[in-house]
Symmetry: C2
Amino acid sequence: MGKGSVTIKDVAKVAGVSTGTVSYALAGDSRINEKTRKLVEEAARKLNYVPNEVGRSLRAKKTETIAFVIPNTSHHVFSHPYFLQLLEGITEVLEDHNYNLQISTTPSEKEESKAYDKILRNRRVDGIILSSASIKDRNILRMVESGFPVVYLGKWHHEEVLTVERDDYGGAYEATEHLLQLGRRRIVHIAGPLDHQESIDRLEGYKQALLDHKVLYDASLVIEKDFSRNAGHDAITELMQAKIEFDGIFAGNDLMAIGALKQLKLLNVHVPRDVSVVGFDDIDMASVVSPELTTIHQPMREIGRMAAEKLMAVLQNQGVADKRSVVGTHLVVRESCGAKER
Amino acid sequence: MGKGSVTIKDVAKVAGVSTGTVSYALAGDSRINEKTRKLVEEAARKLNYVPNEVGRSLRAKKTETIAFVIPNTSHHVFSHPYFLQLLEGITEVLEDHNYNLQISTTPSEKEESKAYDKILRNRRVDGIILSSASIKDRNILRMVESGFPVVYLGKWHHEEVLTVERDDYGGAYEATEHLLQLGRRRIVHIAGPLDHQESIDRLEGYKQALLDHKVLYDASLVIEKDFSRNAGHDAITELMQAKIEFDGIFAGNDLMAIGALKQLKLLNVHVPRDVSVVGFDDIDMASVVSPELTTIHQPMREIGRMAAEKLMAVLQNQGVADKRSVVGTHLVVRESCGAKER
DNA sequence: GTGAAAGCGCTAACAG
DNA sequence: CTGTTAGCGCTTTCAC
C-alpha cells in the first residue's frame, strides 16, 4: 500500500526484470520462460499490482468502454420504467465481455451538438448504444452516420446503420385489432409524441387495423401526448370535455394507459365494461393496477442484450449477421380490455 | 475528417505553433498572446479538434469519471424501481460538474473481490458511489475503508466514511406508530434481508414503536423476505397457512407491500377494513395500486444528488461539511391503511 | 509569449 | 527468451 499507485515499473524492479518482460509475462505470452513468469506474477501479487487502464487505453487506442447515450433531457427517459430493463440487458452482456458501461446524458438542448461531438471524438468510449430519439434531432443523425460504432435502438432509414427495433407497427395493429374483436368501434388512440418514430409506427398500426376491419378512421379520436402518466390523465379529461364518445382506448404506452385508467375511474367510467383499455410496453406497473392492464409486451431486457451483443461484435470485428434486428411483441391479455369476462 | 483522429499535433501544425502553445491557448492561459490564441482556436475549429480524454487523463492522473457501484447481482438492484431515481439524481449533479458516470456491477460472488480491486486501482474512475449492500460483504468493507474516495449509500459504523443515509429507523417507527394509532395491534412486519443494515434498522424502528405503545413484540409476526413482490405474496401465504392472526402489515419496502396487497385481495381479505398495510420507499407503483399504498417516502433522487455532490466536493478538495448526511423520510397516507376513512 | 522536451503507464517492435 | 526503446496524446516545467 505505498503512496502512489504501483506501476509496471515497480513490478519490474521487484521481479528483477524489465517492464517489457512484466507486460509479456502478465499477458501470458508464450515466449516468456515459465520461471520468469512465476517470478513476475509473484512480484505483481506481492505489490498488489493492478494495471493502469488509462495507460493501457492510450496505448491500445481503445477503452473497452461503451456509452449508453440518452438523448435530450435525462429526466424524460429516467421516468420510463423500462429503462432499467434495457440497462440490465446491456450490463449482462458487457460483463461477459469485460466491458465497462458509461451512461451519457446530453445536458441541455443547446449544448447537445457539442456534447455528442465530445462523446464521439474524445476517445473515452469505443462505441455507443443510442436510445431512440426525436426524428428531428439532427445530432442523432450525425452520430448514427458518423461511422463511429453505434447501435441505434429504433428504426433508422438507412440500411447500413445497426439497429435493434421493436415491432411497433405490428404491436399497435394487434392491440387495436384486439379491441375491434371485442366489438369496440370508437377507439381512441392516445399517441406518444409524433416526432418519435415509434409513435408514428404505432399510429400507423392503429390506422391499418381500423382499415382492415372496415372502421372509419376518425382523427378526433387521436390525441397526441407525451408518454407520461399525467398525459393519459389529461387525455381523458380533454376527451370528456369535448364530449367525444368512445368505447375503447389504445394508449401509446403503459404509463399513459395507467393515467387514463385512473382518470376514468375518477369519472365513474367503468373499465372494461364501458371502455376497454390496452397499453403498450408491459411495464411492471401494468400488472398491479386495477383493473390489470392489457398491453403489448416488449422484451426490453432482450433488446438491451441484443444491442450490446451487436456492438460487441462490431468492436471485436466479428461482423454482425444482421444490421437490422426486429424483436417481436405480443399481446398480454389482462383485465382492462374485458376479454377475460367473455 | 482525416483517417485517424486529429490530435493536438495536427492543430499545432496548422496553426504554425508548438503543441504546448496549443494546449495553453485552448486552456485560455493568460500568458498566450491574444492573436496566437485566435489563430489556434481557428485551427482547432477548422480541424474539428476534440481533445483525447485518455491522453489527458493519463497525464492528469484523473479521469473525471466516477463509478456507481452496484454490489452483488445486478439483477437484484435493477429490479428496484427507485434505482432510476437514484441514477437521475446522480447524473444531474455530474452533468453540472462535467463528470462522467460509469455503472459498475460486480460480476459473480466469487469474483467480487477481484472486481472491486480493479475498480479501485485501475484508475479508470476517480471515485465511487457505493450502493448499500449486505453487512457481511467483506469487499464493501475493503472498498469503503481503502482510502479511495467513496460515498456509501447507507449507514456505516466508521465515522470517517462518507455516507448518505436514510432514516430507516425513524421511518419504520413512524409507519408502525401510524398503524398503532389506527388501533391495529397484531402488526406483521415483512422484513427485508436482515443482513442488510436498512432491514435491521427498519425492524428496530418497528420494535421500538411497539414498545412505546405498550404492545408486546411477537416474533412470529416478523417474517424475513427478500424485497421482491413475490416475497410479499409468499409472506401472506405463509402467515395464512400458519393461521397467524394479524390486522396490520408494515412491509420493509413497497414491492413486498404490493405483493402482499395482491395476495390479500386474492384471499378476500379486505384492505384496509380487515388489515391495514403500510410500505416503505414510495415508489411510483405505490400510487397506482388499488387500494393506493400508504408508505414512507424516501427522496431517492435527492439522495443521489447529495451523494454525488459529496463525492464532487472530495474530488475537488473542497472538503465536505458533514461526513454523514441523514435524509428524512415521511409518511404518505393513502388508502391501504384506512386512515382516510375516519 | 512561445518552443522544446520530459513524462504520465503501458505495449510491441526490434535487437540481441 | 529478455531488455531496450519508441510512442500513444496530453500538460507543464524549463529555457530563451
